[in-house]
Symmetry: C2
Subunit: 390 residues, 2 copies
């Protein structure tokens, strides 16, 4: 009749997220909660809203932690800014761009798409030409495509969008806290992310920032968004004017406050550099093992790596070995990349030289157990890369 | 530069929620997370989906924990079932009925309302007459009105609704886990709640159950709901078919699993009885102190009490005294009940004889410090009521 208290297995989370959670965040999760209108809750929220612009690299005043996961952040961005019948342009080169399109379609927007294969990025000229031709009201792109491992620069997109009077939404779910997001420098109007990747908290909140230009658009919207739960102006009255909207979770806010405090302590640029170094070491290792990276050099995420699955190897069997024999979570590809890539995350607290060496050794052992014969010792190559990095 | 680790104040949460969280749930919150597609995550979810029908008193197969707060549960119920142009009837006798109306309006539904003062309930005959006259496609009511403290029976509403081919949504945010919800016996088609009241977990998830009839309606809907994040059929593919939808929070699922396990251990009916006993003792106490209850006897929630603020007393000053001097959170009224009632929750882990006596003593002291002169010793009356209860 009685269930025994829950005892989760110990996992090394090196997939596309959630990432490893540091002890300070776990400690915060177990702290006593307060109410969603308690003065202490708003102190915590004030700290979060002071630290969010730091990780987004923005001077925006409007920064909020949405009470939902990263996909709730995406829906908040789309539902507040896509309007029925208006043109909504999406750069589509991966799974989450498809999700953006689908959400905009559901809002009744007229969706126009520029499609390229998963793992490629859009060049400045072609992005610009697409926007000038379509003259949309909104432009959305994914800065860090979790399905492919590609990083999409946004400056040319934002410049062209602003020329035609459009606002820019950028999905920063897999970049925030791990590599440059640069909201202001890029010209992004609405950026959203999650808590469980570069910020190394559990999933549950979606940080979101809105530029003054986008805020003006929101304030002059003719109709209210269909969503009440994710209505950004209502959320603003809660967090800024402390008027009840919904019951935000003290637990999740505690965790995010601690996750952001750890980033401030480390220094954002030092944190990027740590992610870059470990990413490069990982790449050196898998390439030495004879695996190719799916995304060309210079376009890769530092947070999430997508080495190709060697010919003749069943990626699901390799992943099962890692999970069952070693307690390591990595992910496979899906959609057009199903069976073709591994997705290996080195994010936040999990981005360490030790984890790079460990996953290379474990991946190599699993591949060889599945019959893979190519390549050299990946771990040794990564050690060299780490030592040589400056 | 560096923020000190977070140290929340210790609060006794006796407001309308969040309620006190038991140690076993806090322990679960600090446990190591797993991924949202990990076999262990689905084990936890399976246990949650086994236990949710128990607390809802239903045989429904479709039970889900939505990744958002109670208001996300409300939005899921409305956005999946309200369709543009279709008639959506709402029984309006409190703040959360207003919210239901507003959400249905945003979905483009044609909203018809039956209004009564906050704190009253709808009689069977008048409820029935309204539904038979309006012949809506959907009917929504609030079983446990957190703004007023009133419990709305739903059987007559559900019978009439089904006669005209309508489905019934019931807001059970402040009843679930603390008093009878009785989904099947009442005839409710869609019921939703939250985690931070009768279930005594932190806020962050919204349990929701859907009847086979409502599921059939969903499956034959002509258009997809505007919301992707809260699309119930998509959520079903995630939790039933284990296909990725969004990154559910292991932390929140751990907590809910433990909260539900504690209810199974206690026994649902024993738990209701505990809430009823403590509620009655509280009422005996405040009435002895000379305060009137806003809601008539027999229509009161057992989870949330709304004694009237005595004439000449500023409720905000009383609440500030309780919070600042004693660390006790209670809430005031708002809307038409602003300044007129206190809202005092005795829910879940917080519904104990000790808390009844403590809040009565503290409330009385705060009232007397603010100049209140009426009544007898409330604590003594509650002690008698507790002793006499059988």
């Amino acid at each position: 009749m009685s269930l025994a208290p829950l005892r989760p297995p110990k996992r090394l989370l090196l997939g596309p997220g959630p990432s490893m959670v540091p002890p300070r965040v776990y400690e915060a999760l177990g702290q006593q909660i307060v109410g969603h209108l308690d003065p202490f809750f708003f102190e915590v929220d004030d700290e979060i809203r002071r630290l969010l612009p730091m990780v987004f690299s923005t001077k925006n005043d409007f920064n909020v932690a949405i009470s939902g996961t990263g996909s709730a952040g995406m829906e908040a961005a789309v539902a507040n800014f896509a309007e029925p019948g208006q043109k909504f342009a999406v750069f589509v080169n991966g799974f989450f761009c498809e999700r953006l399109s689908e959400m905009a379609r559901r809002q009744g927007a007229s969706v126009v798409r520029f499609e390229k294969p998963w793992g490629t990025v859009f060049e400045d000229d072609e992005a610009r030409a697409f926007i000038l031709r379509e003259k949309p009201r909104m432009v959305a792109y994914v800065q860090a495509e979790t399905s492919s491992g590609a990083y999409q620069p946004g400056k040319a997109i934002a410049e062209a969008a602003h020329e035609v009077g459009a606002l820019v939404i950028a999905d920063c779910v897999t970049s925030l806290g791990g590599m440059p997001v640069l909201v202001d420098e890029t010209g992004i109007d609405i950026a959203y992310s999650c808590t469980q990747k570069g910020l190394s908290c559990p999933p549950g909140l979606a940080p979101l920032t809105v530029s003054p230009l986008a805020l003006e658009r929101l304030r002059t919207r003719q109709t209210s968004p269909e969503t009440w739960y994710l209505d950004l102006l209502l959320l603003d009255t809660y967090y800024s004017s402390r008027r009840y909207h919904h019951t935000a979770s003290a637990t999740m806010f505690y965790a995010l406050r601690e996750g952001l405090a750890l980033i401030e302590e480390e220094g954002l640029e030092a944190r990027w550099e740590r992610h870059r170094r470990n990413h490069l070491a990982f790449v050196a290792g898998v390439e030495a093992m004879g695996l190719k990276m799916h995304v060309p050099e210079g376009q890769r995420l530092w947070t999430l790596n997508t080495p190709c699955v060697p010919a003749g190897i069943d990626d699901a069997r390799v992943r099962a070995r890692l999970l069952e024999e070693r307690g390591i979570e990595i992910a496979g590809g899906f959609g057009p990349l199903a069976g073709k890539v591994f997705r290996i995350g080195l994010m936040g607290y999990g981005s360490t030289p030790e984890n790079v060496l460990l996953i290379l050794e474990a991946l190599e052992a699993a591949l060889r157990a599945e019959g893979y014969r190519g390549g050299d010792n990946g771990r040794a190559a990564a050690e060299q890369a780490l030592a040589a990095y400056r």
